[in-house]
C-alpha cells in the first residue's frame, strides 16, 4: 500500500510545529533541503485503520509571494515544483483560531493554488477561552474546504484531524472556490459571516505586555531572567559535566587496557576518547541553556526580548532577531550559528554568524581559569570585588564589545545599504508544553552530537597524527611532541608569535588547540611533559607557567583567546550554514587578525607597565 504524503503549511506562530509533534511524536527526520539551509522535517504516523501517512512540516510563511528562502520552499513544494520532492497528496493548512484575520488571508492564497486541501483550525481551546465563536460549517461553505478543529498542545487534540484524513485522503479533490482580487476584503466578509469575537486581543496578553515591555521594568526583568539563566547553566551543569568526563575517561581506560601498547592504543586513547570527551562534556551546559531558550520561546517571551533589544542591536549593525542566536553562543557557537536560521534578512543573518564566535563559549573557560588562577592574585578590589572575577568579567565584556564593533564595521563596509526590515510578529503568551520542549531538546541534542562527533572525531584524529609523527629518535631528551610535525610547525610559528609574547611551548600547544579551545590546556601539559588527569595537569601546569611565563605573556594569551577561532567545529558549521568557503575564510581570517592585534597591544602595553 502506498503512503499518502501530507504537507503542513501555515503562518509562523500558528502552532504548526506543535501539531506536527502531536501527530508524529518523536518519529521525525530532520535534515536540510538540497542545496539550501532550510530545515526539512518529515515524520510519519499510522491512523487507526492501519493507513500510514508521511507528513512534511513546511517552513512557516506569511505569503506565497516569497520573500525568503523558507517561503520559496513552501511555495514550490505546494505546487509540486521542488526537484527531488514528491507533490503532496493533500495540503493541511493550519490557522490559529485566535488570529484568523491574518491567517485566513494565507489560507485563501494557498486555496488559489487549486490543490486538494483541508483547514486545521488550531488553538481552539484558547479561542473558546477568549469567547471566540466560530461557525465551522459556515466557514467550510465560505472557504470551499473541510475545516477541522484541533488543539495541538493537548494529547488527543489532533484526533479529529487524523480521523478526517483517514476517511477522506483518497477522495479529496480540489474544490473550486472563488478567490477575489481583494483578499483582505474577502477575509473581512468571511469573518463577519462565520466568526464572533468579543474583543480583538487577549486581556491577559495586554496586562503581561504592559509589564514585560515597560521601558524600565521590562529591561530589569530581562536582566534578571538572563542572570538566572547563566547562573543555572554554570551551577547545574557542573556535576553532570564531571560525570560525563569521568565516564568517558573510564570507558576510554577500559578500552585502551584491552589494546596492545602501541600506535593503535595511542590513537584510541589520546585521539578518539580524549577528543570525544572534550566535546561531550559541554552537552549538559548546552542542554540546560536550550531548556531555558525553548521554554522562553514556547511561552512567547523571546520575541519580546528581541523587541526590547532591537534598537541597541540595530545600532550595532545587527537586529533584535540576533539576540537568540547570540545568547545560545554563550554555551557553544555551534547551536548559536544554527539558530541564525530564524533571521530572515540574509545580511543580518551573515553578520550574526560572523560575530557569534566572539561570544564567550564554555570551551574558553578551562583556559581562562588556568591563566587567571596562575597569574591574577585573588585580592579584593574596590572593597567589594574579587580581582580574578573582575578579570573574567572583562573577558566576557571584551567579546560582546568586540562583536558589536565588528558588526558595525561590517555594516560600514557593506555595499547594499537598503533598509533592513524588522516586521516581527509577537505571538500570544502560552503555557510551554512539556512535550514540545522535550522534543525540541531531543532534536538539538541529536544535531549537536551528530555534527560534532563527526567533525571532532576526524579533526582529532588528524591532530593526533600531526602530534605523534614522526616519533622521537632514539635517545631523545625532549618531550616526544617536540619532534613531531606539530612540534616543528610550533617552532616555525614561534617567530610569528614572538611579538605577542608567546614562547615555543604555547605555539606548539595552539596547534592541537585548533580542535577545540580547551584542548590547549592538555596540550600545554603534553609539551611540558606532564601526565595524569586533566585536573592534575592543570594544577601542576599552573605552578610551572607561573614560574616560567611573564604576566604580559599570560595577559596576551587571554586576549588571544577572546578572539581566536580555535575551534574547527565552529568553522565547519559556518561552512555548512553558509555554503561558502569564502565566508569561512573571512571569519577565520578576521578572528585570527583581531586575536593577534589584541594580543600584541596587550603584550606591549603590559610589558611597558611592568
Amino acid at each position: 500500500m502506498s503512503h499518502s504524503l501530507i504537507a503542513l503549511v501555515g503562518n509562523p506562530n500558528c502552532g504548526k510545529t506543535a501539531l506536527f509533534n502531536q501527530l508524529t511524536g518523536s518519529r521525525q527526520k530532520v535534515a536540510n533541503y538540497a542545496g539550501v539551509t532550510v530545515e526539512r522535517k518529515e515524520g510519519r504516523f499510522t491512523a487507526p485503520s492501519g493507513r500510514v501517512f508521511n507528513l512534511l512540516d513546511l517552513p512557516g510563511a506569511y505569503s506565497l509571494d516569497a520573500t525568503s528562502p523558507d517561503e520559496v520552499i513552501t511555495r514550490d513544494i505546494c505546487l509540486g515544483r521542488m526537484p527531488g520532492e514528491a507533490e503532496p497528496d493533500l495540503i493541511v493548512c493550519v490557522a490559529d483560531a485566535t488570529n484568523l484575520r491574518l491567517h485566513l488571508r494565507f489560507v485563501l492564497e494557498v486555496k488559489r493554488l487549486g490543490r486538494p486541501m483541508v483547514l486545521a483550525l488550531n488553538m481552539m481551546d484558547a479561542a473558546r477561552k477568549r469567547g471566540i465563536r466560530i461557525d465551522r460549517e459556515e466557514l467550510e461553505r465560505q472557504l470551499g474546504m473541510d475545516v477541522i478543529e484541533t488543539v495541538a498542545i493537548r494529547t488527543g487534540g489532533a484526533k479529529a484531524l487524523i480521523e478526517h484524513l483517514d476517511r477522506t485522503v483518497d477522495t479529496q479533490a480540489a474544490r473550486p472556490a472563488a478567490i477575489e482580487d481583494d483578499v483582505h476584503a474577502q477575509v473581512r466578509r468571511i469573518l463577519a459571516a462565520a466568526v464572533a469575537m468579543p474583543r480583538a486581543t487577549s486581556a491577559i496578553d495586554d496586562r503581561i505586555d504592559r509589564v514585560l515591555l515597560h521601558p524600565v521594568f521590562g529591561l530589569a526583568i530581562l536582566a534578571v531572567v538572563m542572570f538566572f539563566m547563566f547562573q543555572a547553566v554554570f551551577s547545574w551543569a557542573q556535576p553532570l559535566m564531571d560525570g560525563i568526563a569521568n565516564g568517558v575517561t573510564a570507558v576510554g581506560a577500559w578500552v585502551t587496557a584491552m589494546l596492545p601498547d602501541g600506535l593503535l592504543r595511542s590513537l584510541v586513547g589520546d585521539g578518539i576518547f580524549a577528543g570525544l570527551g572534550s566535546v561531550l562534556v559541554f552537552l549538559p551546559q548546552i542542554l540546560i541553556l536550550f531548556l531555558f531558550i525553548l521554554v522562553l520561546e514556547e511561552s512567547g517571551y523571546l520575541p519580546r526580548a528581541a523587541f526590547l533589544l532591537d534598537r541597541i542591536m540595530f545600532k550595532a549593525g545587527l537586529t533584535g532577531r540576533s539576540f537568540i542566536p547570540l545568547l545560545s553562543s554563550f554555551a557553544c557557537a555551534i547551536p548559536g550559528i544554527m539558530a541564525t536560521r530564524s533571521i530572515q534578512d540574509p545580511r543580518d543573518r551573515l553578520t550574526t554568524i560572523l560575530v557569534a564566535p566572539l561570544m564567550t563559549c564554555s570551551a574558553r573557560l578551562p583556559v581562562y581559569t588556568l591563566l587567571i588562577a596562575a597569574f591574577i592574585p585573588a585580592r579584593t578590589v574596590w572593597g567589594l570585588f574579587n580581582l580574578q572575577g573582575v578579570v573574567l568579567f572583562v573577558l566576557y565584556v571584551a567579546g560582546i564589545v568586540g562583536a558589536f564593533a565588528v558588526a558595525s564595521f561590517i555594516r560600514f563596509l557593506r555595499k547594499d545599504k537598503s533598509e533592513h526590515a524588522l516586521l516581527m510578529e509577537l505571538p500570544s503568551y502560552r503555557m510551554p508544553s512539556v512535550r514540545n520542549v522535550a522534543i525540541g531538546l531531543w532534536e538539538r541534542a541529536l544535531i549537536f552530537l551528530r555534527r560534532v562527533t563527526t567533525i571532532i572525531l576526524s579533526v582529532t584524529i588528524i591532530l593526533w597524527f600531526l602530534s605523534t609523527f614522526p616519533s622521537p629518535p632514539a635517545g631523545a631528551t625532549l618531550p616526544p611532541i617536540d619532534y613531531s610535525f606539530a612540534g616543528r610547525l610550533g617552532h616555525l610559528l614561534e617567530h610569528l608569535f614572538a611579538p605577542i609574547g608567546f614562547n615555543w611551548q604555547i605555539s606548539v600547544a595552539l596547534i592541537p588547540g585548533m580542535a577545540a579551545r580547551e584542548v590547549a590546556v592538555s596540550a600545554l601539559g603534553t609539551v611540558y611533559a606532564m601526565s595524569g588527569t586533566e585536573d592534575a595537569v592543570a594544577a601542576q601546569l599552573g605552578h610551572t607557567i607561573a614560574a616560567q611565563w611573564s604576566l604580559a605573556t599570560a595577559l596576551s594569551l587571554l586576549a588571544w583567546y577572546v578572539f581566536a577561532p580555535q575551534c574547527m567545529s565552529t568553522l565547519a558549521v559556518i561552512r555548512r550554514e553558509t555554503n561558502s568557503r569564502r565566508t569561512v575564510a573571512v571569519a577565520a581570517g578576521y578572528l585570527f587578525g583581531l586575536a593577534y592585534l589584541a594580543a600584541l597591544v596587550t603584550y606591549q602595553i603590559a610589558r611597558v607597565l611592568s
Binding site: Y62, L102, R105, A200, F307, L426
Partner: protein, 79 residues
C-alpha cells in the same frame, strides 16, 4: 499623519501603505500582513530606547515595526 507619529493607545485607521521606492519589499510585506485601507490600528508599546521599535496592534495580531517601517503607513485618527 503616519503610524510613527501616533501616540500609544490612540485608536486610528489605516489609509494606505506608501512605497518609498518603485519596488519596496517592506511596503509589499506590510500590505500582505494586513496593513490595508480601513483597518483599525493602535500602538500598544514602544521600545525602551528612542521609543523604537513600535509594537502595533492590527486586527488580532501584534507586530513590532521600526520607525522607518511605520512611517510608510498613512493613517487618520478614529472618530
Amino acid at each position: 499623519m503616519n503610524l510613527s507619529q501616533l501616540s500609544p493607545f490612540t485608536p486610528a485607521v489605516i489609509d494606505e501603505v506608501e512605497s518609498v521606492s518603485g519596488n519596496d519589499p517592506i511596503a509589499k510585506r506590510l500590505r500582505e500582513l494586513g496593513f490595508v485601507n480601513g483597518e483599525p490600528v493602535r500602538i500598544v508599546a514602544r521600545g525602551p530606547l528612542g521609543a523604537d521599535p513600535l509594537l502595533v496592534q492590527i486586527g488580532f495580531t501584534r507586530f513590532a515595526l521600526r520607525r522607518a517601517e511605520a512611517q510608510r503607513v498613512r493613517i487618520h485618527l478614529a472618530d
